[in-house]
Structure formats: structure tokens, C-alpha cells
Symmetry: C2
Subunit: 334 residues, 2 copies
DNA sequence: TTGCGCAATGGCAACGTTAACATTTGGGTG
DNA sequence: CACCCAAATGTTAACGTTGCCATTGCGCAA
């Protein structure tokens, strides 16, 4: 056991088992045209030598890698962990692996991402579009490199998938109106956030669809501190009985801000957030919020690539609705 | 442009450029023994055909994949996102890619993880040891598969890296003692958590090292709710002027629990957490906590594999200390 | 002019696997 | 007993790349 073993190949196994390389290959793939007795002999040889099929040889021969590439601009981001969980779960299901790459560069383009991916052992790629790529409109995926974009936008040549942020706002606003509120105030996010702006549109248009002119919104910056300030402002507005915040941190901040001005939640004002990100961090409130199934989004993306074995690409646009989770921060005032 | 292009190989480029395949290969690797003029002609051909070197062919030839495999039991977990960021950053630096796989199975063994990895295009692997594998003590890494475990435990054959949980507690306890506190109370976590138990040991032993007998600890379950309950209990203990909680959620819950019993933080009681996970979620307190650099842990792991190009493995054990971040929840009572 | 050395390029083989085809063997049928 | 068929196994070639060695062409010193 002194020398370093070079990697064991079918040839070595074949020699030891006294069969041809092809029979070894057939045994690996459990072909029915190998006698059980022979198979057993080959398996024994594989065990003895510690044989593992070589990925490169196999891929070269097959022209497939059974791997999906994932490109992300910044890995740290709300929901990314769940999305990754989804990628991994779906890949696992299809016997695929996930290859992860960080994307950078100014300007950030789908073209360069795609080009980089094509030198990696992947059959398709998923791009998490935190940023808007400069060439979004004109990009065409490489032939043979099925591409799925995680974004709310539609694309003529790539399948896209994401959470439905517009519908999320529709659900929240209609829910609050059903509880008897005459209008819904809104704490927004910075204008550069694509998904945040979709939430804003959803809020605005749903109110209008119910014949209600949207009140002045309060602009936040995702932080609880900005929610706190917004809560203090809205506490002085007598028409404000229901507040919808663009994320949970601002919603929680808002609650504390309202309380600092003597308003109680939900007795005086109802509050709803988005993202279900408070988890077990806050002890004294079960916030009413919208939960997105990011894992499902991730699974869909990988399914689209790994599931379509040889099937025609077929561009599809998919938006998954969130689920409104009732907590203790909304009161029915009818 | 009607037919689907098969993948473009060196052969195609060579033909178009009127040179041999070898010259194309040399051009790809920017060998100095190709005339600049020839290089340019080859490059033009590559551009025209959209040539990308084939990963499988290259790996087969070279016997290297330039890829590090990462195995995780559950992807969702404190710090995993930052660790991933570290993996990706380090891989990027070395021109490597990351291949992610989810691990399951009962019992969970390093052996099966390793075996699964060896059929993937990776040169080494990193295992995030959220769970204790059944064969931790007896595992030997596959030859040629450099293995790094992310855990606090040492291993005779694999390099290991993680945050230093013991030192974290030492820092917190000594910091609080320096502020004049006579003892430090502790809110622990469930006993099954390896890192949590290390924090507990660190708290206990540091107090003893200062000649202080550790007071009765309060057992929590990582949630703010359990911290809240602990805070209420400790509020009635007159000897309790400083509390160290095993994570930030419990620390925040504890603060609210103390307040519910009329104690103020930090005027009456000082509180310190761990993990720096509150971020912008809580509006009204800047918690004193310990911040770990999980990204650095991730980078170290991948550096160890990707950086050691041909170098002898060399088993190493690395623990990174956290940094105590001063907030507004500790008071100097000297 | 001849010969030498160097720069530039080409030819060949091999990495490990497996699809396609070829061959062998044994058993049944006319 | 010749024949054919099916089951089991073997042989060959090719996937794309690149290390090694061979070859070509050219300038320069002898």
C-alpha cells in the first residue's frame, strides 16, 4: 500500500475480472444482457480496486454533463438560500449536480456570463438576476445551453421564473380591504429595486381597481429604522388604519414606531409585511406577512433544464404567488 | 444559419485558420512559440466559429477539473450564505468553479459523501458538517481527493476549519467582567448543537479561570421566545447584571423579557448576543454581539484545496476568532 | 557554400468511456 | 445434422484536448 494509486479505469477492472471493458461498462449501467454471475464477478473487481467511473471520460463520450450551472451576482440576498436549496433538491432528483459561479464585471451582461459558463461542465444555466444586465433585451442563449433567468421580467428567448410580487400586493391590499379598512397605506423601498417597484405597482393598482385613490406613500430603505420613522409619521395620520410595508423589517420597525407614538397594533392600526423573514428573531409579535416559496422557484428553474432531457426548449414564463400568513398584527374592523 | 451547430472543436478552428490543431491549442494557452500573426489568424477563426474549449476533453487530458465540490447536509443554516460567498470568491480567485451537492441518508457518513463526490468533476471536497457523521473518527479521504471539513473538531487526516466558538465566549465573558460585572449569566441552546456546547464550555471555563463559579444557566432553544422567557426569569435574580445569550434572537428576546418585568437595558442589565444576525431587522437596539467572518472560513477551505496545486496535502486545523461588536446594550458599571 | 541552432509548426498518441457493430456460444427446429 | 436465432461477450472507433517528438524554414557563423 505504499505507491500512490493512479485512478482506476474500466481497463483495470476488466483485466481483474477477466472480461472485456465493454462488459464492465455494461455492468456499471446494469444492462440486462450481462449474466448475473458475470456481473457479480465484475462488481467484486470494482469493489476490490475501488473503481469510480471517470466523469471526464463519460462526459466526453456522451456530450452531456448532467450538471446545471448557477450564476449569481451577489450570493447574499433575501431568499437566495432557499433558492439554492431548491436548485440542489431538484438537481438531486434528476441525478444532476449544481455548479456555482459568481458573476461580476462592469457592465454586467448575460453575454459574458453565458460565455464563461460555456467553458464549464454544464448542460444549461440559471442566472439569478439581482442586477439588470446591460444586454437583457438583446441576449440570445448559446445553442445547446438552455438558459433560465430568475426574474419577474419576461424574455423572448429564455425561460424566466420568480415570485409574483404584483400579486403579493394584490393579496395584501384585498385582504386588508376585506377586514373593513377604507384604504391601505404603503411603506415602499428604494426605487432601484425591481421587485420592490412591482410591489408598489401592485398596491397602487389594486387600490384603484377598488375605486380607491392611493394615499401618499412613505419611502423606506428596507431597514427597520426607516420603518420606525415611517410608523411615527403615519401615527399622526387619522385616516391610517392599515399599513402595508415592503418587507418585514420595515413592518416590524413600523410597529415599534407606532407604539412609540401611543398607537397599538393591531387595536389601532393593522400592519402587514412581506417575506416572512422575522422567523424566531422577534419575541413579542407574530407578524401578518406574505411567504414566498423560493425553494419552489429554484426547483422550477433546475427542473426546466434537467427535466427536459432532449425535449425541445420551449420558452416559458412562470410566476409563483406568495401565501398570506395571518399573524396577530391585523384586526378586522368591520 | 439554419442547421443546429454541433459543438466547435479545435479541429474546426484549425481547418478554418489553415493551421494544425496543435497550433490552435497553443494559441488558446498563449504559448510564446506561436507567431503573433498566426495567433491572430487563429483567434479570428475562434471568434468566427464561436469556439469554446471543451471541458470534458480538457479534463480528461489533464486529469484535473479545476473544481471544488461542496457537500452540505442542510443548506439553510446560519452563516451558510456567507460561507458560500467565501467558497465562490476563493474559487473565482483560483479560476476554479464550485460544485454543490446536497447530502442525505441515514446514517450520514463521510464515506458515502466522499464516494458520491468522486463521480463528480471535482479535485477536492469541502464538507459542511452540520451533522456529526457516523464515521467521523475512522474516515479516510479518497486518494487524490483532498478533503476539508468545516467543523470545530480536529481530524487526523482531513484539514478542518471553523469559527472559534470557545474563544467567542471567552471574549464576551472577559469583556463583561472588564465592565465591572461580578458574574455573567448565560442563556444556552439545545444540547445537540456542537457549536452551542462549545460556547457553553467557553463561558463556564472562562468564568472559572477568573475564580468565579458559573451561575445556573437558563436553557433556550435558539428562538426569541425562549430568550423572552429567560429574560423574565433572570429579571427576578438580583445577582444578575450581565447576560450572555448563545445567539442574537435569544438576546433580543431576553431584552424584551427583561423590559416586560420593568428592567431596562443596559441601565439595569447588560446583554450580549452572538452571530450579528439582527442586522436591520430590529429598529430600537444596536445589540452588542460577536460577528464571525464566515466568508473567510469558506475562503480558507477552498484555498486549501485550490491553492495547493500539486503541493503535499498537509493536514491543518484552523479556527478563526470572532470580533466583538460593541452596541448599546452593555453598560460599564465600575 | 555548408552546417548549425533556433523558432515555428505539424503529426501522433493517449486520457476513460461507451455506441455501434462483430463475434462466439448454446439451444432449439426443420 | 445443418441451420438459424438469441443471448452473451468482444472489438473498434470516436468524443476533444494536449504532451511529446518530429519536421520545416530561416538566419548566421564558420
Amino acid at each position: 500500500m505504499a505507491a500512490v494509486k493512479k485512478s482506476v479505469s474500466v481497463k483495470d477492472v476488466a483485466r481483474l475480472a477477466g472480461v472485456s471493458e465493454q462488459t464492465v461498462s455494461r455492468t456499471v449501467h446494469d444492462s440486462p444482457s450481462v449474466r448475473p454471475e458475470t456481473k457479480e464477478r465484475v462488481r467484486a473487481a470494482m469493489r476490490e480496486l475501488g473503481y469510480r467511473p471517470n466523469f471526464a471520460g463519460r462526459s466526453l463520450r456522451r456530450g452531456k454533463f448532467k450538471t446545471v450551472g448557477v450564476a449569481m451576482f451577489n450570493i447574499t440576498g433575501t431568499g437566495n438560500l432557499d433558492r439554492m436549496e431548491g436548485f440542489a433538491a431538484a438537481a438531486d432528483k434528476h441525478g444532476y449536480a449544481i455548479t456555482l459561479t459568481k458573476v461580476d464585471g462592469h457592465p454586467y451582461t448575460l453575454e459574458s456570463t453565458s460565455s464563461r459558463m460555456s467553458a464549464l461542465p454544464v448542460d444549461g444555466m440559471v442566472v439569478i438576476m439581482n442586477r439588470m444586465p446591460a444586454d437583457f433585451g438583446t441576449f440570445e442563449p448559446l445553442p445547446g445551453m438552455q438558459t433560465v433567468l430568475v426574474t419577474m421580467l419576461e424574455h423572448p428567448l429564455c425561460s424566466t421564473v420568480d415570485n409574483d410580487q404584483f400579486d403579493c400586493s394584490r393579496q395584501v391590499v384585498e385582504y386588508l380591504l376585506e377586514q373593513g379598512h377604507k384604504t391601505v397605506h404603503f411603506i415602499s423601498c428604494p426605487e432601484r429595486s425591481l421587485s420592490g417597484m412591482r410591489r408598489e405597482e401592485g398596491w397602487r393598482e389594486t387600490l384603484r381597481a377598488h375605486g380607491i385613490e392611493p394615499p401618499q406613500l412613505v419611502r423606506g430603505d428596507w431597514t427597520a429604522q426607516s420603518g420606525y420613522a415611517a410608523g411615527q409619521v403615519l401615527a399622526d395620520d387619522p385616516t391610517c388604519t392599515a399599513i402595508y410595508a415592503s418587507n418585514d423589517a420595515m413592518a416590524y420597525g413600523c410597529i415599534r414606531g407606532l407604539e412609540s407614538r401611543g398607537k397599538r397594533v393591531p387595536q389601532d392600526v393593522s400592519v402587514v409585511g412581506v417575506d416572512d423573514s422575522l422567523g424566531d428573531i422577534v419575541p413579542d409579535c407574530r407578524l401578518t406577512t406574505v411567504r414566498f416559496d423560493n425553494k419552489r422557484v429554484g426547483m422550477w428553474a433546475v427542473d426546466k433544464i434537467a427535466g427536459a432531457e432532449g425535449v425541445a426548449p420551449g420558452v416559458e414564463h412562470m410566476l409563483f404567488p406568495g401565501v398570506l400568513v395571518e399573524g396577530d398584527t391585523v384586526r378586522d374592523i368591520r
